[in-house]
């Protein structure tokens, strides 16, 4: 995402990235970033926590004016409730599922709705 941010910034629009992967973002080196110290899959907040999600979104947009040097990453103070998440995140396992090259729907009902709207191509992605 840092690469896309750099291109948008280079085109003239100021950008800010949220990130929960400090080193990946630091390496891609976008203009501005705000760090959330959560397990992957929750970059913009804890689930069912609208107050915390609003704080994070606010910190992100305010960083547009608040960050004054490119490459700066600022953390938000929120913490994940269960501190053991780091142990799981550091396990040397490959969590990825097979990278299938057809559209992957969350449910069969989603597939059916997409076919109804877009035709049979919605099933094969062709």
């Amino acid at each position: 995402m840092g690469l896309i941010a750099r291109e948008i910034e280079a085109s003239g629009i100021p950008t800010v990235c949220l990130t929960s992967a400090w080193t990946i973002t630091a390496s891609a080196n976008p203009a501005r970033a705000v760090y959330t110290d959560f397990p992957l899959g929750h970059t913009s907040g804890r689930p069912n926590d609208p107050v915390g999600q609003l704080e994070i979104a606010r910190a992100a947009v305010e960083a547009i004016h608040g960050i004054t040097a490119p490459g700066t990453i600022i953390p938000v103070p929120q913490q994940w409730p269960d501190p053991t998440w780091r142990d799981e995140a550091r396990e040397l396992v490959d969590h990825r599922t097979e990278r299938l090259d057809t559209p992957q729907y969350q449910s069969d009902a989603d597939r059916d709705a997409a076919i109804a709207t877009h035709g049979e191509n919605a099933a094969c992605g062709c």
């Binding site: 390496s27 203009a31 929750h42 689930p47 994070i56």
Partner: protein, 168 residues
Amino acid sequence: MSTAPPSDIDIVDYIDVTKRAYEALGYQAYRWAENTEPSAFVAPTKPLAESKVVLLASGGIYRHGDIAFTHKDDVGHREIPVDTPDEELRVTHFAYDQTHARQDPNVVLPLTALRTLAADGVIGSVADVALTFMGGIYSQRRLGEQLTPGLVSRCHELDADIALLVPV
């Protein structure tokens, strides 16, 4: 690394974790993007309260009725209308645990928060659509040539003053 993390945060170094995990599995090391040159840095021209914010998110988010992403180098994007109810949002991805994202898509697509910031006058407005895509495109050349240009164009067509990007 251009920016060291604060010493009081025990960050998980995912570059190191993936490197060691792939080594242990006998896979070739993945080369994360590395930019030592600073990014362009555009000064905002408007106060935040007058700025239109466009949201971009990876993480495989689409709307019920839309065509889902493939899980292999999908360089397309979807456009999610800003007022889409949470109940119509869907998430599929090959690389992260989507349990919470499916319960509350705001953990990866903060549309509710942006709508509230606009209603509260913190930002001027939210762009008519959020731009979503799959991420997990392993070729940086492919990402740069096939996904990024369309996103950049849409940010300008949507007349955005600020882009907020949310990776997973």
